[in-house]
């Protein structure tokens, strides 16, 4: 909502800076997102106070040597008038009319040295006004167009305004506003700061047309701030100033012959008072479609609306001012239609839901299909407009319209929202109605618009008002307990002060025992219960003045989150082991993930899929964390020589047990590229291979004290012969290995030749519960160890894990450690054999081992391994 400060001042006195106003509104929930300045300091083009002033045009004469130039003599506040040479077409009409003083024509006037926008260039290009001869006459001043001042793009002529149109005059009486105040129990407002003196020639233009426009963000509960009066009411309450409402009285023509009252000419009914609670109409005849006064055009423009003509402008003006969108029908069109269904009867307007298949052609010319819940304004001849959203083409006012039926109605906001979204019609009216416009505003808005049509468009208001309001909304009455208010807010205010704060926002407050009986004003639709009243009290008191305290409430039972603790432990360990953590998108597609399985084997669990995906390849919640991490590895493989990544996160498997999927935590690791950062000392480091990943996992599980075993496995994602599954007991907890070249290619991981891409995919749902919180420590040995080396020749196909297991079993308690230090298979051995060399560490807990002890163990090991594995000592 764009709120020009000068317009706001019409309803509330403001003795604060723009920044202070913005801060007060922002703190109270009407967030001022930005302030746009016109002409004032802070504007893109600041109007020089000395050199850009208001001038009165005294005389216009033809340039002696140029048909398309005139000489305008102006009074700009100096002792002597000055002559400006100009080509402004809207001055030509005054050539030769002599002294124009009585016409009181005013225009913005710039003197040499002033900076303006260049009117002849596209866009906004600043230029400094310099004196130069124009067809022989020296000129060093200029009458300005809107474009030159940055007001609009208009450059056809200069701004030329009658003095009384520069500023808003008192429009309509204030008496009605006072009655409104009295009805609400408010003290009378002080007289407005009027009448304003007509600005004198020489007044800096800043003081006449300069302004600051506040851009206020509208939240769902601040729909009341979609009008200037709504914002003024908040500001008045926040600054404890009175609110000046405009006159809501209409001066209707006297009823008489040939001018029957409106209720004999128009009848309004509805069959859905729930969707259309109120419908107010006035008839204004003899309207002239002229331009609206300059002050109104200027305000509309500042508020973001383009001025059209006085009828359209008044409709928009009242919507912005009061907050009540309204609609103007061409009454003669309605009457002509009525001649078809009731030649002697009144126009019959009826609101209803559409008939099956009914369409409407809206005023933008589009024929629109209607949802069954979209409410229409109709007559017996057909439909007229989409209620609260957009008018229909046929009954719209045109350039020749003179008799206007003015509609101001209220509509159910949810229904308007649904309809506007379904129609994709987001008009200013729909914007307001879909946030809630209180029924009380319909009458005020209708009267205000009618009166302005009378005053500014020369219309005559037919006697009477049609006001169809079958079930007036009851007032919202809430009992507020000051104790509740204190407990909720932490602010200890006496009941009297609470009442005073609420009254500033026009709540009616009466004491009711210990409590306060509060009646919400009819323009508030967001007040439902005592909590809403507490918010109002806090807002007006000032959130910043409420104390700050620390929780003193009972501390809840402290519960562990074991799964999270263990995940975080894993993260720490993996980072310590040299892996970089990543967080990835969880939306993917089946095709993206299928790249992980080059030989098929579809995943049999259903995906969670979106009905409104952000992109065709992001429509499903992932089944694989590894796939996500591989995408990251691929992207980094274009520049990073060393890639070692992990992610811990959920996968989402569609469930048959309920509407929600199983969300299962997984760990994925991807490694490729250089093992170390390359440096100048040792040349290029070696590349990651299978055993780098294996070593990380070995270290991880050892640190976690989870006894994971590894066995060779086949898996379509991995290279045959370089894949293993990870087990705890009989339970498979994951897979690891070198990825299949087809997978690497599918993900487009750019690995150098001979560089493997290693991956692991681990089920944390299975692993996490197996991590012990505690374990027993092993005492440090008191007696020295004896180290022996042993090289065994075994079948090449025998897994090393089998040899080590046999060694440990045969070595018994005295064999404290087994460490493989060499693997050899080659010409020095018979075919089909390999040699495994181990460091064996023998140690006894209770004595120093003798050579004989060790020799006995060694013999036993060799004997048993030969029996069990056919192993021989390498000679």
């Amino acid at each position: 909502m764009r709120v020009p400060l000068s317009w706001l001042r019409e309803y509330v006195d403001i003795d604060l800076s723009v920044a202070e106003v913005a801060e007060i509104l922002t703190n109270a929930g009407l967030e001022v997102e930005s302030v746009e300045y016109l002409g004032l300091p802070g504007a893109e083009l600041e109007w020089d106070r000395e050199r850009i002033v208001l001038a009165q045009v005294l005389r216009v004469e033809q340039h002696p040597d140029a048909d398309r130039l005139v000489l305008a003599t102006v009074d700009y506040g100096a002792a002597e008038p000055k002559v400006a040479v100009t080509g402004a077409p809207n001055l030509f009409a005054y050539v030769g009319r002599g002294d124009l003083t009585e016409l009181r024509l005013f225009a913005p006037y710039a003197l040499e040295g002033a900076t303006l926008y260049d009117g002849h260039k596209d866009g906004r290009v600043k230029a400094k006004l310099k004196g130069r001869p124009l067809r022989g006459i020296y000129n060093d001043s200029m009458l300005c167009s809107e474009k030159e001042l940055g007001i609009s793009e208009e450059h056809e002529g200069i701004i030329l305004v009658r003095g009384d149109e520069i500023r808003a005059e008192e429009q309509g009486s204030r008496g009605a506003g006072e009655r409104e105040r009295a009805d609400r129990g408010l003290p009378p407002a002080p007289p407005p700061p009027r009448p304003p003196a007509l600005p004198a020639p020489g007044t800096p233009l800043q003081d006449v047309l300069g302004d600051a426009v506040l851009e206020i963000a509208i939240l769902p509960n601040t729909a009341r701030a979609t009008s200037i009066i709504g914002v003024a009411r908040e500001l008045a309450a926040l600054t404890a100033k009175p609110l000046r409402l405009p006159g809501y009285d209409v001066v209707a023509a006297a009823a008489g012959a040939g001018r029957p009252p409106i209720d004999q000419r128009v009848v309004i009914t509805t069959d859905r008072p729930d969707l259309n609670p109120r419908f107010v109409a006035l008839l204004i005849e003899g309207v002239q479609q002229i331009a609206s006064p300059y002050w109104m055009q200027h305000r509309l423009r500042l508020a973001g609306q383009r001025p059209i003509n006085v009828v359209v402008d008044i409709s928009n003006y009242v919507m912005l001012e009061v907050g009540q969108p309204n609609h103007t029908f061409d009454y003669d069109v309605l009457r002509r239609r009525a001649d078809g269904y009731a030649p002697d009867g009144p126009v019959r307007i009826h609101t209803r839901l559409p008939h099956p298949g009914e369409t409407i052609t809206t005023l933008d010319g589009a024929e629109r299909k209607l949802e069954p819940y979209t409410i229409l304004v109709t007559d017996p001849a057909g439909n007229l407009s989409i209620g609260g959203i957009m008018g229909g083409r046929e009954s719209e006012i045109g350039p020749t319209t003179t008799n206007v039926l003015l509609e101001a109605a209220s509509w159910d906001f949810i229904n308007i929202r649904r309809s506007a979204n379904a129609l994709d019609l987001h008009t200013e009216a729909a914007y307001r109605f879909s946030r809630g416009v209180p029924p009380s505003l319909a009458l005020l808005g209708a009267k205000r618009a009618a009166e302005l049509l009378r005053l500014l468009a020369g219309g005559t208001i037919a006697p009477g008002i049609v006001d169809t309001y079958p079930d007036p909304a009851p007032p919202v009455v809430i009992d507020l307990d000051p104790v509740y208010a204190r407990k909720l807010s932490g602010l200890d205010l006496p009941a009297g002060e609470i009442a005073a704060l609420l009254r500033r926002l026009e709540f009616v407050v009466e004491p009711a025992g210990e409590r306060l009986r509060v009646t919400a004003p009819d323009h508030r639709l967001d007040i439902e219960g005592p909590h809403d009243l507490v918010e109002e009290v806090c807002r007006l008191y000032g959130y910043d003045r409420i104390p700050s305290t620390l929780l003193a409430d009972t501390l809840p039972p402290q519960r562990r989150n074991v799964a999270l603790e263990r995940e975080e432990r894993l993260r720490d360990l993996l980072a310590q082991l040299g892996l970089q953590e990543v967080w990835t998108y969880r939306l993917t597609s089946a095709a993206r993930e299928a790249r992980l399985l080059p030989v098929g084997q579809p995943d049999d669990r259903p995906y969670v899929t979106l009905s409104n995906p952000p992109a065709p390849d992001r429509y499903a919640m992932r089944h694989s964390v590894l796939s996500s991490v591989l995408e990251v590895a691929a992207a980094n493989s274009r520049h990073a020589p060393r890639i070692a990544l992990f992610e811990i996160g959920a996968i989402y498997l569609g469930s048959e047990d309920g509407p929600l999927p199983d969300e299962l935590p997984r760990l994925a690791i991807v490694m490729t590229g250089r093992r170390q950062v390359e440096d100048w000392t040792d040349g290029a480091p070696a590349s990651f291979d299978f055993y780098d990943l294996k070593g990380i996992l070995d270290a991880l599980f050892a640190t976690l004290h989870v006894p994971v075993t590894v066995e060779a496995a086949a898996h379509p994602s991995y290279r045959p012969g370089r894949c293993a599954r990870l087990l705890v007991g009989q339970q498979v907890i994951g897979a690891m290995g070198e990825l299949h070249p087809g997978v690497v290619k599918g993900f487009d991981v750019r690995a150098e030749r001979d560089q493997a891409v290693l991956a692991a995919d681990i089920d944390l749902q299975a692993l996490l519960p197996l991590i012990p919180d505690s374990y027993r420590y092993t005492a440090l040995p008191a007696y020295p160890p004896v180290r022996e080396d042993l090289a065994l020749v075994v079948d090449a196909s025998l897994p090393a894990s089998a040899v080590e297991a046999a060694l440990r079993a045969a070595g018994g308690a005295l064999l404290r450690d087994v460490a493989l230090f060499d693997v050899y298979a080659g010409s020095q051995l018979p075919g089909g054999k390999k040699s495994l060399a181990y460091h064996l560490t023998f140690q006894a807990p209770d004595k120093t081992l003798t050579d004989a002890d060790v020799s006995r163990q060694r013999g036993r090991i060799l004997r048993l391994l030969e029996q069990q594995l056919g192993a021989t000592l390498r000679g």
Partner: protein, 341 residues
Amino acid sequence: MLEELEQHYRQATAALAASEGREALAAWHRDTLGKKGSIYLLTRNLGALSAEERPAFGRRLNEIKAHLEADYDQRLAEAEAAALEAQMAAGALDVTLPGRRPAHGRLHITTRTLRDIYRIFGDMGFQVYRSPDVETDEMNFELLNFPPHHPAREMQDSFYTTTPGVILRTHTSAGQIRAMREYYPDPIRVVLPGMCYRNEQVTARSEMQFTQVELLAVGDDISFADLKGTLTDFARRLFGADRQTRFRASYFPFTEPSAEMDISCILCNGAGCSICKYTGWLEILGCGMVHPVVLRNGGYDPERYFGFAAGMGPERIAMLKYGIDDIRQFWANDLRFLEQF
């Protein structure tokens, strides 16, 4: 004889001074003080002396030997020190050459930020409670007082799944009802972290996926003043002890009164700069007192119980803290970005 001895002493001293380096010194020692050295040879002359002369000569000879040994030791020590100096000088390194950096891993910036948040609230008795990413419309919206078609729903554009009534959660507030129903009637202090999803254009400032941490406290003695104090403490611990906070009225369907909390700009300290758009304030989180409808939906009687809730974005916090200008970096996972933290 004595005269000859003194002359010899002078000669030996001169020869010692002229000897440079350990080897020359060793040769001097051998030739002068060794078993066949010149001093030793002088003792042979003892027999030629009279009995009266002999003690004086012997005493002087021993004195001279001791002096020469001492001088020699000093010269040798100097020579060894000089040799060591020379050896070390030859081994000087270019200390400006880069070192060998071990490859090491790091946690993602989001993890680190989440942990900061957990730790601070953990100290105040809040524990982590996690709830699903794929949620029911009921948990995400309806029970949080967002009726169908309510304008508040348009504040958060949802991703809908093909299962009716199931969406990707738009905020971790969705876990509020789950926590309340699980813990009723205990008082509650939880942080609800997790991934959220909104159907928004992905730009430098907004993402379709982001993390969020929701804070929820429920009890019979919890007020808006407690909310202010708790969150101000949090802001000061996270962003520095001199941070000012500002609470301004706002709207969330599931809180009333509602507020936005701003902190004084961490870059300009409130003076105004481009980061804070010259307001001096940075928007950090939304918060408010739990709406009575939400308390009731969670099983807590709003006449007896009060609560507060707050929601914050770890990415936003990290962006402010480290001056990151593009939220997409959090999901792009470019190592050149991640390795800066």
